[in-house]
């Protein structure tokens, strides 16, 4: 049985939009790996393809060519190797967005248990997981509250709890700190780092905020439509 630390592997990934003269190359030959327990920042100027790359790893956007492994499973090689991309998302990946994007007509615990229940867990089992997560994020007293009655920070923690509820191998976070002040941004990124370490999860975080980079283990930067890996700066004044 494989005990590989590899959570994500991307090889020669290409993504083009349009055809002929209107063809736009967004990613051209991206290759990188992310290991379990790592918090990796994905940085690039606006429009460079950060979110597109994140969506390709998340089996949402189909690449033009290349290969993608999630854990030990190769999910893409010039085409999706499974029709059940949504099942892969549901079972292996947790998504965190810039805003919390909780389902407004479900209360917090229902939001958190929605994916586990869809994965076949009973209501009781799902709620047990959800309560543990809400306790972890110190919002267990808000379990039956509606998202509209919670603060932005509480909702964001609930959204992270939802992302973790299916015990994912990978968390894809699309600018989770964009709407937060520096203190809350640091709190969220530290939380993601703790999750990565505690739960042995690979976290890729799209960010524009260079102040968050020292909190990450590594940086993936999109340059010339390729991905370049570098060590995170050790500027510790905000740590």
């Amino acid at each position: 049985m494989s005990m590989s630390k590899q959570a994500i592997k991307v090889e020669n990934l290409v993504k083009n939009f349009g055809k002929g003269e209107s063809l736009v190359e967004v990613i051209n030959g991206a290759s990188f790996e992310v290991n379990k327990g790592e918090l990796v920042a994905l940085v690039a100027p606006s429009g460079a393809g950060k979110t597109t790359l994140l969506m390709m790893i998340g089996c949402v956007e189909e690449p033009t060519s290349g290969s993608v492994w999630l854990g030990d499973e190769k999910v893409y090689e010039n085409k999706w190797l499974t029709k059940e991309t949504r099942k892969i998302r549901r079972e292996k990946i947790g998504f965190i967005f810039q805003a919390h994007y909780l389902i407004p007509f479900l209360n917090i615990i229902e939001n958190v248990t929605l994916v586990p229940q869809t994965n076949g867990l009973s209501k009781e089992e799902s709620e047990k997981i959800a309560i543990e997560l809400l306790e972890y994020f110190e919002i267990e007293d808000k379990a039956t509250a509606m998202p509209s009655s919670l603060s932005g920070g509480q909702n964001q923690r609930a959204a992270i709890a939802r992302a973790l509820a299916n015990k994912p191998e990978i968390i894809l976070a699309d600018e989770p700190t964009a709407a937060l002040d520096i203190k809350r941004s640091v709190d969220v990124v530290k939380m993601l780092k703790k999750i990565a370490t505690d739960q042995d999860v690979a976290v890729i975080m799209v960010t524009h905020d260079e102040a968050m980079l020292p909190l990450c283990d590594r940086i993936l930067k999109i340059e010339d439509k390729k991905v370049v890996s570098s060590v995170a700066p050790k500027d510790t004044h905000i740590l």
Binding site: G58, V60, R89, F97, P104, V115, Q117, T118
Partner: protein, 381 residues
């Protein structure tokens, strides 16, 4: 598993209920339309059922007094009476009258019959006050809907009539209140001209006017005789058109109200289609309002089937609630209509099935949006 439809409806309960009630009022109108049609069928049969005769003898080559002008001599009843198998026969007249009531005129349908004859069109079970006609002149039995009371005096022509009885639930096929007067009075009103007219006619060489006419002779057949055979005998020997009770009922319910029923049918179909379109638009709008949530659900891996189930359940529930609201609305207002409205359970059940099918069809517009929703739309903005 979490029921998404239930949660979504609970979240927007007030809006959902108000929308369902709005659609329900439209469905209530559909039910009323169907009730008006049923009422017309029942109204058309009231007089026939109360008369309870087997044969209608009318002017040759006509469809009888309700469908077109028919005049036969009153003494035809004696000729009919002696035909083998006929138990009784009476002359009868029908005419529309305008009766003065306070400061307005009331349109009624007058039935003239011989109060001492064998056939009485006044159903004793429907007589709620007073008595039937007991004299040959100047008495009138009215239906309560006409607005007159017992012992009221009514000026009609040169005479004054006294209301001696009041019936309930007696109307003509056109929905007008029925009044009953003696055959002699009816003949004077319908066939007897004024003195000036008679003088004018004489000057034109028309010397006699026979007022002893009736619109039809109705007859009952003795037990053991075939109604159709007796009718055939009358047709052959008396050169009159003869209709059995069933044929007369068909003329009234099929021929006379055919256009009206088609009209109502058209309105009903159009209203059902409009209701379906409205439900579809509501569901489409409701789906558009939650496209972000749908995209998020798709992104985090919720299968289409679960989201589609939510849309279909919401639409069907909208249809069911609208149907219930429509039913309540229709039952609240139907008695306020001037003409008879009959709300029948089979009609309501039929409409319920149509609405459920329409709701499922309407949900397809929402389902199409769900299937087309791009999970990537959840990212950004």
């Amino acid at each position: 598993m979490i029921n998404l439809a239930q949660k979504e409806i609970a979240h927007t309960f007030g809006k959902f209920i108000v929308t369902a009630v709005g659609v329900g009022m439209l469905l209530g109108i559909v039910m009323i339309m169907m009730g008006v049609y049923r009422g017309m069928i029942i109204d058309a049969q009231v007089l026939l059922n109360d008369l309870d005769v087997d044969l209608w003898v009318v002017q040759e080559n006509t469809l009888g007094p309700f469908a077109e002008a028919s005049r036969v001599h009153e003494d035809l009843k004696d000729t009919i009476h002696v035909i083998q198998g006929v138990k009784s026969a009476e002359g009868i007249t029908f005419q529309n009258l305008q009766l003065p009531l306070k400061n307005e005129m009331v349109r009624v349908f007058a039935v003239g019959f011989d109060p001492f004859g064998d056939i009485d069109p006044i159903n004793p079970n429907k007589l709620i006050a007073g008595r039937g006609l007991g004299r040959s002149h100047y008495e009138m039995v009215v239906t309560d809907k006409a607005g007159f009371k017992l012992n009221d005096k009514i000026n009609l022509g040169r005479d004054i009539y006294t209301v001696v009885g009041v019936t309930h639930g007696t109307v003509s096929s056109g929905g007008d209140p029925l009044v009953y007067i003696s055959l002699k009075d009816a003949q004077e009103l319908q066939f007897l001209y004024s003195n000036a007219r008679i003088r004018n006619d004489r000057a034109r060489g028309i010397n006699s006017v026979n007022s002893h006419m009736v619109n039809a002779v109705v007859a009952r057949v003795q037990n053991g005789y075939d109604v159709n055979k007796v009718a055939q005998d009358i047709r052959r020997w008396k050169h009159k058109s003869v209709y059995t009770a069933e044929q007369e009922k068909t003329i009234l319910t099929k021929n006379l109200i055919k256009m009206a029923s088609k009209q109502i049918g058209m309105f009903t179909v159009i209203l059902v289609i409009v209701s379906t379109i409205i439900i579809a638009l509501i569901i489409y709008t409701m789906t558009l309002e939650k496209m972000k949530e749908i995209a998020i659900m798709k992104l985090i891996g919720i299968p289409n089937s679960l989201i589609i189930k939510m849309i279909v359940q919401e639409t069907v529930l909208m249809g069911v609630l609208a149907f219930i609201a429509g039913n309540i609305f229709a039952h609240l207002i139907y008695s306020k209509f001037p003409k008879r409205v009959v709300l029948e359970t089979p009609d309501a059940l039929g409409l319920f099935i149509v609405i459920i099918i329409a709701s499922v069809l309407a949900s397809f517009v929402g389902v199409r949006k769900v299937i087309a929703a791009d999970p990537a739309e959840a990212i950004g903005g």
